[in-house]
């Protein structure tokens, strides 16, 4: 289940113990990527490092989506919401720290006279930081429980999460006094007492993000190799069989959806201090569906794929969209079509020698159970 790159023949020819070869084939690629990311701040300008730090938060976000889409077969089009909720929780902490006991500026402008009750706990880091995981996980858990309990899967799940993205983003835009409205929450000065814009702080944040990314990778790799992970894949491939074997797919799905949302929230929490703003534009329909294209380009169902995809697509975006915004939009449109039609197994699939084939679980004639029950004339 973990990404397996074929080793160069030179390495295979060496008289190495076989277990070392196994370790290398599983871990070589991730270790190479990690080494490159560790070394990056030494080689790049501050501006590029800041950009790469932002991409790394996107990589964590993509990994959280890959966990539920690539392994459990549930495409969420609302992951921007969970990312945003984590980002907002962090922003509330930063804003209160910057305000230094006074009312945050945008609340004052909107005519509030005192801090809303739900803002108050976020002045403490020991509450705010766990909340970046807990709030999105709780929302996903609640929605997931209702949705999975009524056996809503596949596209219906995707469409419902897309509606969630629309609703939460307009809710945040509408509640100007509490969320900063369209502008979001910005203008932080310090984080834990350090100036937030100083290059040193930014480097520390970069490495914190990288460490979180590595930990998330290990967590996902462990999870997927475990019994739980095998159940996820089994559910993706045949949910009814898992149900008939005595497991409860609704519970499994709710747990993994909540976990994935929590990870997305942590990614958002790392995004906010590095970029300096969180706003509803990060949560809407458009950013949420873009996460799916990062995963698809990198390779669905390959842990490293999400990271590679997130960094490459966002790199291309910042390269192209600044100078040629129109071309970027056409390119992105074609990328969505191409990722589905032309290279369904993504970059990692190509590297692993799967060529242009479609992974078996994405093959045609596979329908989510719900559709097969509801639709006439469709065979499973």
């Amino acid at each position: 289940m973990i990404s397996r790159l074929s080793l160069p023949n030179a390495v295979k020819g060496l008289p190495l113990p076989s277990w070392l070869g196994d370790v290398a084939s599983v871990w070589l690629a991730p270790i190479l990527v990690l080494a490159a990311l560790v070394a990056a701040p030494l080689l790049l300008s501050d501006f590029r490092v800041a950009l790469l730090g932002k991409f790394l938060t996107f990589a964590i976000l993509a990994m959280s989506l890959n966990l539920i889409w690539g392994y459990a077969g549930m495409l969420s089009l609302g992951h921007g919401v969970f990312f945003g909720l984590g980002g907002y929780a962090m922003a509330m902490f930063l804003k209160l720290e910057s305000a230094g006991g006074k009312l945050p500026d945008f609340m004052f402008w909107s005519g509030l006279t005192e801090l809303p009750f739900f803002w108050a706990p976020f002045q403490y880091a020991w509450i705010a930081i766990p909340m970046t995981f807990v709030v999105p996980a709780a929302l996903a858990g609640g929605l997931g429980y209702l949705v999975f309990r009524s056996r809503i899967t596949g596209v219906y799940f995707a469409l419902i999460t897309q509606a969630l993205a629309l609703i939460v983003s307009i809710l945040f835009i509408g509640q100007q006094p509490y969320t900063g409205g369209t502008n979001g929450i910005t203008n932080y000065t310090t984080i834990f007492g350090f100036a937030i814009n100083s290059p040193t702080t930014q480097i520390v944040l970069y490495y914190a993000t990288l460490a979180t990314l590595a930990l998330t990778y290990l967590l996902c790799a462990w999870l997927i190799a475990s019994r739980f992970g095998r159940l996820l894949v089994a559910m993706r491939d045949d949910e009814n069989r898992v149900r008939f074997s005595g497991y409860n797919p609704a519970a499994l799905k709710t747990i993994v959806f909540a976990l994935s949302a929590g990870i997305a929230g942590v990614a958002g929490a790392l995004f906010t201090p590095q970029v300096g703003i969180i706003s509803p534009t990060m949560m809407g329909i458009v950013p949420s569906i873009e996460i799916a294209i990062w995963v698809a380009v990198g390779g669905r169902g390959v842990l490293l794929g999400a990271i590679v995809g997130a960094i490459l697509v966002n790199g291309a975006k910042s390269g192209l969209s600044e100078s040629f915004p129109a071309i970027w939009q056409y390119f992105l449109g074609l990328l969505f079509i191409g990722a589905v039609l032309v290279f369904p197994s993504g970059i990692m699939g190509l590297l692993r020698g799967e060529g242009w084939r479609r992974p078996e679980w994405l093959a045609a004639d596979r329908l989510p159970g719900f559709a097969a029950r509801v639709l006439p004339g469709v065979k499973r």
Binding site: L75, L143, L146, V147, R149, S150, R151, I152, G154, V155, Y156, A158, L159, I160, Q162, A163, L164, L166, I167, I170, L171, I173, G174, I285, V286, I289, A292, I293, A296, A326, Q329, Y330, L332, G333, L334, L335, F336, I337, G338, A339, V340, L341, P344, L362, A364, D365, R366, L367, P368, F370, A371, R373, V374, L375, P376, G377, V378
Partner: protein
């Protein structure tokens, strides 16, 4: 009392536009299991067709409010959107039958492409279509109740489309083939129905209906390249609530959602209204996961 009546009337006209949008989605889902996220862009194509036609007409006649132009724009919008839908079907979607999640992503890509195309041709800012003079007035039902002519026209237009769709589906050979493929694709195919042809025709038909919805939307407000995105999510909620691929269910669901939206908006705000409707749909699906109507099992 009059306030309520006028609110209900607004709800009805909102429902009718939702319905026109959702019908195409329900058709393409029911027939081919395709989730078309580019459907909103066919609305946009219809709207821009109306706009372009009016610009051309105003250039030659000097009268932007010409009533005839708008009447001509309705079928032209249908044809333009249907042609675009046909192209998308034969170039992208036919490779993706029975893979709904993949069609969802690919059609989103098609949508992005079409939006950018509109931006390149017509520019990013919104444009306004001037409503014809004969649609600008109001009709007074009682002394306090004034119904805008535009909204009445939209409801009438949607009813006409529904009637035409009914005739097509239940009174024409082409429609009979379509229902046959919907009910049992293999059997229809083995009886000599060209399912490929039925698929692309149905997709074009659904897209055309979205184009008419776009034409109608120009009466309500300004139009822009991302016009469709506003309506698409609501339309999908309608399709889910109605039961996938079920035309009568879709009609009922559109009425319910349009009305609920209006009622909640009236009681609270537009945003809270949307949140409440979403919550109610999720709760309803707890009770009936297949939506209002479900296909009879065989």
């Amino acid at each position: 009392m009059e306030v309520w009546a006028s609110q209900l009337f607004n709800g009805l006209s909102l429902s009718s536009i939702l319905l026109l949008t959702a019908l195409g989605l329900a058709l393409s889902f029911g027939l081919m299991n395709v989730i078309n996220l580019a459907h909103g862009e066919f609305i946009m194509i219809g709207a821009y067709t109306t706009y372009a036609l009016q610009q051309v007409a105003a250039h030659y006649t000097g009268d932007p409010q010409s009533g005839i132009t708008f009447l001509i724009a309705i079928p032209v919008s249908f044809i333009m959107a249907a042609a675009a839908g046909y192209l998308v079907e034969v170039s992208v979607i036919r490779f993706l039958y029975r893979r709904p999640l993949d069609t969802l992503l690919a059609t989103w890509g098609v949508g992005l492409f079409l939006q950018q195309l509109a931006r390149s041709i017509f520019g990013a800012p919104n444009v306004q279509v001037v409503a014809p003079a004969w649609l600008s007035g109001t009709v007074s039902v009682t002394s306090g109740l004034l119904l805008p002519m535009k909204r009445i026209f939209i409801i009438g237009l949607v009813l006409a489309c529904l009637g035409a769709l009914y005739l097509y589906m239940y009174r024409s050979n082409e429609g009979r083939r379509m229902r046959g493929v919907m009910q049992n694709r293999e059997m229809a195919s083995s009886l000599g129905v060209s399912t490929r042809r039925v698929d692309s025709f149905t997709f074009a038909l659904g897209s055309g209906l979205a184009g008419v919805a776009g034409c109608a939307l120009t009466l309500i407000g300004p139009i822009g390249p991302s016009l469709g995105t506003f309506y698409i999510v609501d339309a999908f909620i309608v399709v889910i609530l109605g039961g996938l691929g079920q035309i009568p269910g879709t009609i009922m669901a559109a009425l319910i959602i349009g009305m609920l939206n209006t009622v909640f908006e009236f009681g609270t705000t537009a945003v809270v209204g949307k949140v409440l409707v979403f919550a109610m749909v999720i709760l309803f699906l707890q009770w009936k996961p297949a939506g209002l109507m479900r296909a009879r099992g065989r």
